[in-house]
Symmetry: C2
Subunit: 352 residues, 2 copies
């Protein structure tokens, strides 16, 4: 990927464009704006795989009927600190936003809120939701399950998603700590880039179709699997996230989530959001100062040779966001082409 | 380690012995029994590093005054779904047990309970507490922080513990799913065994004192570090567990937890326990059947060459427990010697 293939676009223009497209596709104006905001937010932060590149995917699914833009996102059960939302194959972003909003509301009673979502769709970047809790002086947790691309450790069939976990924590003078990690050692996107560039991949990233480690991206794509981080440990983590997001919510789990390319089928995925009010444990200002000290202890750590600096979770994303807010979001030519085409089909003027 | 070095001991005898020792060391009878039960439970399950081998460690700390056997484990703050216990340098097991007991109690109101512990000590195996929730048809979560042995990714100084996370989930016809994993790629104990046997270790286990991967156990022990699983991902996980167990509870965190060998200093570690009542989301029997299906999907997965079978989290521990309950717990000669000596010092007849 070289610089000339990239077009810089102001995030506001991109957000207006995506929102207009989603509205044309049948989402209410607020739902369209929210979904757009989630994608542009991920693009701003450099999480391009979960950014505006997804607009085309979502549009395709809405047209095929596998994402329902008119879901009511009904709260099907509710307790003092818990709730369950049925997304009715709706938009993952709207379901996720409503779930975390409700989790935060629940904390006003009990200090804790845990809200599940069933029958949902891809919801973009998990940190979009966990960070909602941070705004309210809370620690936020978000997980979702995803189409199976991982084999259980020792197996050779796709049984689990590269399920992500996000935890977001308010700091004081520093930006919040924001972990947003999948349980796999790599994403298919990174393996794809290595394939394009004719490079080998680390032996810890993927397995071939027989469940053996491979450093060849072509072999990985030929029926292979994403390797979990830490071998059986990442497998265990991914399984537990499927328990929370899929089994506990009454949603699909494991192989009951259709493959990513089965675009005409509702994804049936589930999400779980949790918020903990910090003031239940200590004054918020004390907590913020303690987190600042924790961050300082990481940042002040002597640096290993070959490393520039020690980063804390979310740091690089905040830096990227600052740059991209100022200079614009770099859009790859292929993505630009897709967005222009989408705009033409829907009668929305592209932001380029 | 060869068979003749091992002595098989009935778990009941071992439990009686350890409880009698802890009572002599000043713990109340119930606290002594509980602490003993935790250690023998870990030994039964094959988690020998967190088993009766620790009796000598705990005894040493109690004698040095860094573990306080008379703590009141005061609940210092409490809300509808949360609580915080000050362990006052007490026994980690007693603190952990009280915290999870309270977390489970809290669910009767809100369906969720989250209880922190500050100023505590080593608490044994994390799964001992998460599994308490399973008995009540709940999902249990346990974490603790620990003495720093890990560098932040890109750094070369000890800043984080090999902090563990345990999640326990009730099943139907299968035993519960029980994840209990540290965020490091290895434990020092495994590296020590490789050193003893003159074997190399995988390059993903440890870093040398300059923060570079090493396959030489001797180099790892010479001021090196445990590597996090999944590089920066395991670092991020370990950091977030320190936020939950250390920062949020008001306990020590990062370098404020003394090194394991500083035995005369209170450990200042913190724990966090959480329980979620499953019936807030769906009938427990439905959930159990869904977990059984998830387990079946893992167990039925085609096996990769070189692998015997696919395991689910906790499975091997349940199998080991069954064997050791029947045949006895194998005690290594060095551990046997330590226990005999401890018994002599305290006037307790050893179980050998």
């Amino acid at each position: 990927m070289t610089e000339p293939e990239l077009t810089l676009v102001a995030h506001e223009l991109l957000a207006d464009f995506c929102a207009a497209c989603f509205e044309k596709l049948g989402l209410s104006r607020p739902d369209a704006e929210l979904t757009s905001r989630s994608l542009v937010w991920a693009s701003l932060r450099g999480t391009d795989s979960h950014g505006v590149v997804l607009a085309k995917e979502y549009a395709e699914r809405i047209r095929l009927g596998s994402i329902n833009p008119h879901s009511l996102y009904t709260v099907v059960s509710e307790g003092p600190a818990t709730a369950l939302i049925d997304a009715e194959a709706g938009v993952g972003q709207v379901a996720g936003f409503r779930a975390m909003t409700k989790a935060v509301e629940k904390t006003s009673h009990a200090g804790v809120g845990i809200v599940g979502v069933k029958n949902s769709s891809h919801f973009g970047a998990a940190a979009f939701y966990s960070m909602m809790a941070v705004e309210h002086d809370m620690i936020g947790f978000t997980t979702t399950n995803a189409p199976p691309t991982m084999a259980p450790w020792g197996g050779k069939a796709r049984r689990l998603g590269n399920n992500p976990l996000s935890v977001a924590v308010p700091a004081g003078k520093y930006p919040p700590l924001v972990l947003d990690m999948a349980t796999g050692a790599s994403a298919w996107g990174k393996i794809f880039i290595a394939q394009q560039q004719g490079r080998k991949i680390p032996l810890t990233w993927a397995l071939d179709k027989n469940g053996q480690p491979t450093d060849d991206p072509n072999v990985a794509f030929d029926g292979g699997f994403i390797q979990p981080i830490g071998e059986y440990k990442g497998y265990g983590l991914s399984l537990m996230l499927d328990v929370l997001a899929g089994v506990l919510t009454g949603s699909g789990f494991s192989i009951h989530i259709p493959a990513w390319n089965d675009k005409d089928q509702p994804q049936q995925c589930g999400h779980l959001m949790a918020a903990i009010r910090i003031s239940c444990f200590m004054p918020v200002e004390t907590f913020r100062a303690r987190i600042d000290e924790l961050i300082r202890l990481m940042k002040d750590c002597p640096i290993a040779p070959g490393s520039d600096r020690v980063l804390v979770p979310g740091e690089i994303e905040f830096e990227t966001e600052e740059q991209r807010r100022a200079r614009g979001i770099p859009i790859h030519s292929a993505v630009k082409q897709d967005l222009v085409k989408l705009g033409e089909e829907l009668g929305v003027a592209p932001p380029f």
